[in-house]
Amino acid sequence: MSTQTPSGASAASPRETTEGTVYTVTGGDWDEIAQSAAKSDDERIIVNMGPQHPSTHGVLRLILEIDGETVTEARCGIGYLHTGIEKNLEFRTWTQGTTFVTRMDYLTPFFNETAYCLGVEKLLGITDQIPDRASIIRVLLMELNRLSSHLVCIATGGMELGATTIMIYGFRDRELILDIYELITGLRMNHAFVRPGGLAQDLPPGAVDQIREFVKKMTKNLPEYDKLATGNPIFKARMQDVGYLDLAGCMALGATGPILRSAGLPHDLRKSQPYCGYETYDFEVPTADTCDSYGRFLIRLEEMRQSLRIIEQCLDRLQPGPVMVADKKIAWPAQLALGPDGLGNSLDHIKKIMGTSMEALIHHFKLVTEGFRVPPGQAYVAVESPKGELGVHVVSDGGTRPYRVHFRDPSFTNLQAMAAMCEGGQVADVIVAVASIDPVMGGVDR
């Protein structure tokens, strides 16, 4: 085939041994780089930062060319966490898909799930039939998720600067949110709670009270970050004018989310292309005009306050009602209940379908093993995740499985801006710049 790697020079050449052909998988160009580095007489060296490095947010490999303390060139090596989620989705039913996508960007599971489900619902043409309660709970979970994602970003970003108190605070508050997740979905991450057509199940008793309690506590805790960091001269000195990317750079590199808003453009899909009823909520889109890491920090802090506002509005609006579409051909799981061994099919439902209704049993069996069919076509749906535009391109060929699902993960796109932010700066500032991008490798590599 004529479709081999066009630049053969950058790949390692295979070597024959008694055991068979041996390939050097990574660092194939290392000898070349080391030789050319030895030739130059100055202090220019190439540093491989990662893929195992505490401040690279997972398995990100940064390849830095350094002259003294200055970074002259910076490149990313990614793919260490590639798990083939997009390919795997093509071998499961549409409903099973949410179990996979929730694991992509593992800090924003509800955004992955909701984006995917909105895409499937658009293909099915049932967007209007999603019950209000399901949409409100989706918004509620997404905004809680925005808080927990931003908290991790601020916490780990602070830790990388040596500000361990911020780290402790961030994880302390995130724990409160994870407790809410656990109460609602049974899990702290990898929930698969949002399903095509609605939700896996309704909120359990006590969830609303616990969220109200949390909002109260969080309203008290949020100013602590302000007091600790916002005016802190060391924090400001490390963050200001670091990781600079202006509006033209953002647009060219496709950067969205807090990076784009730190360049002054109030672009937020919740406002411009509302989904899940976001147009009915009252909130503001914070921006900064500094184009730097400090601006992004302030934006994340303000977005957390706005998320709390949205959560309160969600709680006020919750009315009893269904959380799954009425169409029983789509609504899976049929009935769930909490048993002694965890969440599963409700015993009453099993008793009914096994004992009294053969048709119900057939329907249940077909829906679970075969799944539902989705009319052929394609759709693109995007949601505003804490990191930016999370887009899903879903293609169906009319079958019971997705034909192709592609995720435009904001971390993947935003990470491209790393070189533009870091080149010409100090080595220590690379950490700050990468932290302000807030990449999560599960999302980058999928």
Binding site: E86, K87, L253, D445
Partner: protein, 246 residues
């Protein structure tokens, strides 16, 4: 079995989707003819579903008016292309409107001028490209590989889709990195997984898979892999070996 003219008819062989009665959704573009169901294609089928023949059709070309702002964008694009001396009918293969989304199927040799026009024309201003998504349609002869771009206009608050196709034998598509630098990694990803070669890309290398990986994993003929797993005494086959209902 024979038909009116006395010719032998073998339902397993002679059925093309066009001479079948009662096809659902005759409109649209056929990408594949599906035979059988439940993955039962190697004997042992007593259900009769093995003889099922279905035509898989994607939504076909739309005619004017497209509705809403779609016409405005299409008019502006056609006008701008004419100004550059291009014939819109040659550039845009067809326009599909489906599920409130508009898709321009563009001939691949004109992708670059179309993208540049969409980005720069003040009435269009699609300044943000959300990357490229590859789609492999192995039965769509001559158009097996598709590259799908979603362009967002923040100025006008619009979203459109561009689609180009390339045959398996010549998987070349022009690179959009000069117009949308954000497509750098996205095109590397599409190359890595689908083998689409983006001509003019500054460094088209694999991005997710190891550099010396053979094959393109997200093509439909590339196996998923996996091993059978024992669960509660039963052997559960690997995901791509399980019964499929499509």
């Amino acid at each position: 079995m024979s038909d009116a003219n006395g010719n032998e008819v073998n339902p397993e062989k002679d059925l093309s989707a066009s001479n079948l009665p009662g096809q659902r959704g005759d409109k649209g573009e056929e990408i594949r003819v599906q035979r059988g169901m439940f993955g039962a294609n190697n004997g042992g089928d007593t259900s009769g579903y093995g003889g099922l023949v279905r035509s898989i059709r994607l939504p076909g070309a739309a005619t004017r008016p497209y509705g809403g702002w779609f016409d405005e964008v299409a008019d502006e694009l056609e006008g701008a292309l004419e100004e550059q001396g291009l014939v819109p009918e040659n550039v845009i293969d067809k326009t599909v409107v489906d599920r409130d989304e508009i898709t321009f199927h563009v001939e691949r040799e004109y992708l670059l001028p179309v993208a540049r026009t969409l980005r720069d024309d003040p009435a269009l201003r699609f300044e943000l490209c959300t990357g490229v998504s590859g789609v492999h349609l192995p039965h769509d002869k001559g158009r097996e590989l598709h590259a799908v771009y979603h362009l967002r206009s923040i100025t006008h608050n619009r979203l459109i889709r561009l689609e180009v196709s390339a045959p398996d034998a010549d998987p070349h598509v022009p690179s959009l990195v000069t117009v949308y630098p954000t497509n750098d990694w996205h095109e590397r990803e599409a190359y890595d997984f689908f083998g689409l070669i983006f001509d003019g890309h500054p460094a088209l290398t694999r991005i997710m898979m190891p550099d010396d990986w053979q094959g393109f994993p997200q093509r439909k003929d590339y196996p998923l892999g996996g091993i059978p797993v024992e669960y509660k005494g039963a052997q559960i086959p690997a995901p791509d070996q399980r019964r499929s209902y499509s």
